[in-house]
Amino acid sequence: MLTKEDIERLATLARIDVSEEEKKGLAKDLDAVLAYVSEVSKITTESDTVPRVGELRNVMREDADAYPGGEWSEAILANAPHKEDGYFKVGQIF
């Protein structure tokens, strides 16, 4: 069973504020899904569980001028909530 503290810890890791009244509902929802998905733990699988999803292969390109400077800057910055002199603007970090 997930506790209120568990939800707070997950919310911090995921960078999402969760209100007090929402914590209980989330714990209940997540418990129900986790109870369902834990059936996988009962399945016997081969010991080799190196996560391998899809086929892995390198995709390379010539190390040349793939991204000419400034070509997209204006269009990209047009979507930014806060910007200044061609930069994204953020608040205090520490």
């Binding site: 929802d29 399945i43 995709v59």
Partner: protein, 479 residues
């Protein structure tokens, strides 16, 4: 000549455009009018574009100079999760309500150069997370067959647009059934191609090891036309499979196909009896048409849904980390950076998105990683190997597409787990990266309304041709 968008197919429209029975402009105007009339009730579209006549004029020039392909002048809808340069691309989320696409996604570029007319962006569950299109920030989509019911999801707007005659075809994205399930519930055809068959450049990522773009249309032939237009290798998507790669094996074309049924899976509790009866009747007709039907053993298949609801949220929690209120999207102001993150994400994301991000964070966190994520990856491999073994004996595997016909709005939204069970038959294709198609297989009766249901076929990687062949057989035996 009158144009009836509710019955018109891409194939027939193409013939008529070629024969100059009407122009691309006239066709576009007719379909757009239909979309505008139906949209206030159905809400299939988030936005119908203003500049569609320009695209239609371009298509008319292609038709005049002989450079027109199958899609020239064909009005289509595109799910609000694929980038269309200069247009808002919101993925059904409050987070991206003001986000304007900087470039065309590869599939959008391909549609445009084929001369297709993109009428608008279709509504969807927020970030493609849902099976009912009720979590859309632009409001819920209704099923055109019965507006008190959901169209399915997450590509519910694309399916509804086609079903209401507001587009001759549409693109959706399918992570666990999001093209096939709404196609079944709205009575249209939907294809999830092989993983890597269609470029995802310009598709907003939900779960990257599962996502695939796929077409929806009224017939299998139309679906095939759209698929051929969007498929192919793209250097801009590293998961797109190069032409000539060994995995691109072609299935042999044969008149009589061998159809495998995972009997114990289809007999599971929770499947609507009418849906099961419709499925049996469809298979019986295919048998009478000369196809061979046999039972196949896929013992791990019922675990696919549990595997999906571990892997998908894990990938969601990573992919949706980008929505932080800094570079684009919803941003809640604060002079402290951490508070911008915490508040923007709390207020921007809807309930289901937050639920899945937290669930994904849980299954990836220290102490649970091996028990959930790694175990799910191992079971995923088991399921894939079982399927590949079965495809050495049969051409296709078949199941109903969904466990029940379209449900009522509000019926499942409060209980996430019941909603998740909608994906039980569609999820295995995403888990194994194989193609799957849903074809209308008739109707079941509910409260004096006939609701459509679909039959699903799965094939080995890059064997879409076999799916089109069997899909056309279903259309033929049901006609």
């Amino acid at each position: 000549m009158t144009i009836d968008p509710s019955t018109l197919t891409i194939t027939e429209a193409h013939r008529a455009l070629r024969a100059k029975e009407y122009s691309a402009k006239e066709l576009t105007e007719a379909v757009l009018l239909r979309a505008k009339n139906k949209n206030p009730e159905i809400n299939a579209y988030a936005e119908l574009f203003e500049d569609v006549i320009e695209s239609a004029d371009l298509a008319d020039r292609m038709l005049a100079d002989g450079s027109a392909g199958d899609l020239a002048g064909i009005p289509v809808g595109v799910k609000d999760i694929m980038l269309i340069k200069g247009k808002i691309s919101a993925a059904g989320s409050k987070v991206l309500m003001n986000h304007r696409a900087v470039y065309d996604g590869t599939v959008v570029g391909k549609l445009k150069s084929a001369g297709a007319v993109i009428l608008g962006r279709t509504n969807m569950d927020e970030f493609a997370m849902g099976s009912s299109s009720e979590t859309c920030a632009y409001g819920p989509v209704k099923n055109p067959i019965d507006p008190s019911r959901v169209p399915g999801g997450s590509s519910g707007g694309s399916a509804a647009a086609v079903a209401m005659g507001g587009a001759l075809g549409a693109l959706g994205s399918d992570t666990g059934g999001s093209v096939r399930q709404p196609a079944a519930l709205c009575g249209v055809v939907g294809l999830k191609p092989t993983y890597g068959a269609v470029s995802r450049y310009g598709l907003m990522a939900m779960a990257s090891s599962l996502d695939q773009i796929g077409p929806l249309a009224k017939t299998v032939a139309d679906t095939e036309i759209l698929y051929r237009a969007i498929a192919g290798h793209d250097p801009m998507d590293s998961t797109s499979v190069p032409e000539g790669h060994s995995s691109r094996r072609k299935g042999a074309q044969k008149e009589r196909l061998t159809i495998g049924i995972p009997e114990s899976f289809v007999a599971m509790d929770g499947i609507d009896p009418d849906v099961r009866e419709n499925f049996r009747a469809t298979i019986e007709k295919l048998k009478q048409a000369g196809h061979k039907v046999q039972s196949v053993d896929l013992p791990s298949l019922p675990h696919a849904l549990a595997v999906y609801y571990i892997l998908m949220p894990a990938e969601v929690s990573a992919n949706l980390a980008r929505y932080d209120g800094i570079r684009y999207g919803y941003s809640k102001e604060s002079d402290k950076l951490m508070e911008v993150y915490m508040r923007s994400r709390a207020l921007g994301f809807g309930k289901e998105a937050r639920r899945r991000i937290l669930l994904g964070t849980y299954v990836l966190s220290a102490g649970y990683y091996d028990a959930y994520y790694n175990k799910a990856v191992a079971v995923r491999r088991m399921i894939t190997e079982e399927l590949m073994l079965v495809f050495s004996k049969v051409d296709v595997i078949t199941t109903p597409t969904t466990p029940s016909p379209a449900f009522k709005l509000g019926e499942k939204i409060a209980n996430p787990l019941t909603m998740y069970l909608e994906d039980i038959f569609t999820v295995p294709a995403n888990i194994a990266g194989i193609p799957g198609i849903s074809v209308p297989s008739g109707v079941v009766s509910r409260e004096n309304t006939y609701l459509p249901v679909g039959v699903q076929f799965l094939a080995a990687p890059f064997c879409e041709d076999i799916l089109f062949a069997i899909g056309k057989e279903v259309e033929r035996v049901r006609a």
